[in-house]
Symmetry: C3
């Protein structure tokens, strides 16, 4: 039987938030020993990524890389209803992805030592975000 | 029992096409109430993305962002057999992804209000594309 | 019953390695006829992609595109503990993704004719990488 959980997460504007323990908790609650965990964010201006969990500079540098690929307030954008970070946030979300799928083994996420799961807020201001976690397997 | 459906989609060249209703239809046909829906495109020059479904300018601006990351006819490309959009299309596909995984709850896709599912054609000309939808759960 | 397999892969530094047959082998071993195969790399400096499997120039050009989006030794990076390719490798991994999900039908991966699965090493030097393959369905 699949297990599905919904989480509300408050962000403080642009930046990453570690959600590894939240997803690990949903896997534990599912009772599923072997299978996959799927994490999905119900928004188009924040994303979910797996990246290095030790040095916070890695996530700052990721911000730098994305800010070049999809700058705030680019004069070429037509969509700017909600400000200079509006279209940039949509583009950064498409480039990094709104969902993650992770392997589950022995009742736990099978992550590498240096892997963490992060919600990446791309809007400048604080937001409330909804995440859906689905665990499948046996 | 997993449910699998194959769809043929005609594109009119570069741009996005909303496939939300198609995927929603496959979920309904599956009879699955809780689980995941996986959508996969069997090509290397078009992609599948979740993005804002209200203002078409968002998708135009996404095109602008990708056209900078992987421009047509870049002199640095070695692969140009099928024209200036050939390699650009492969690169844009890798940057945005050939598959989507979505949560299913209460027998429906659990998308946010502003989320739509799009097939993104990266070749300049019209193409026929094949999509495979797999629904898993109970 | 889900099937899970772990693979060790030696890379020879930056570049792609075809893992299609490895994943196809895990699908065959699973005995699963219809469902999905999920492939996950337990690292934050190499990624997994689906791309054109015929002309190796495509993968060389993909390298060119990524080397512009996330150059080695960028003076803006703060994280450079392991050398000029360290942060570039993390960024390229986030842009291209650490996992793949593929449809399985008739007991095989349902890939398009030109699709191959590749492990993409982003570190300059040779590495040992661990991949987890999970097959779900019936």
């Amino acid at each position: 039987m699949p297990h599905q959980a919904t989480l509300e997460i408050a962000t403080r504007g642009r930046g990453t938030r570690d959600i590894t323990a939240d997803v690990q908790g949903a896997v534990a609650a599912s009772g599923i020993r072997c299978g996959i965990a799927h994490v999905f964010v119900q928004h188009t201006s924040c994303s979910l990524v797996v990246t290095e969990n030790a040095d916070p500079d890695v996530r700052r540098d990721l911000e730098t890389v994305l800010s070049r690929a999809a700058p705030d307030g680019d004069p070429a954008y037509r969509h700017d209803t909600e400000g200079p970070d509006d279209m940039a946030a949509h583009a950064r979300t498409v480039l990094t992805g709104e969902s993650l799928t992770l392997p589950v083994g022995d009742g736990r996420l099978r992550l590498g030592t240096w892997q963490g799961l992060f919600l990446w807020e791309h809007r400048a201001g604080a937001q409330r975000r909804t995440i859906v976690i689905t665990v499948l397997g046996e």
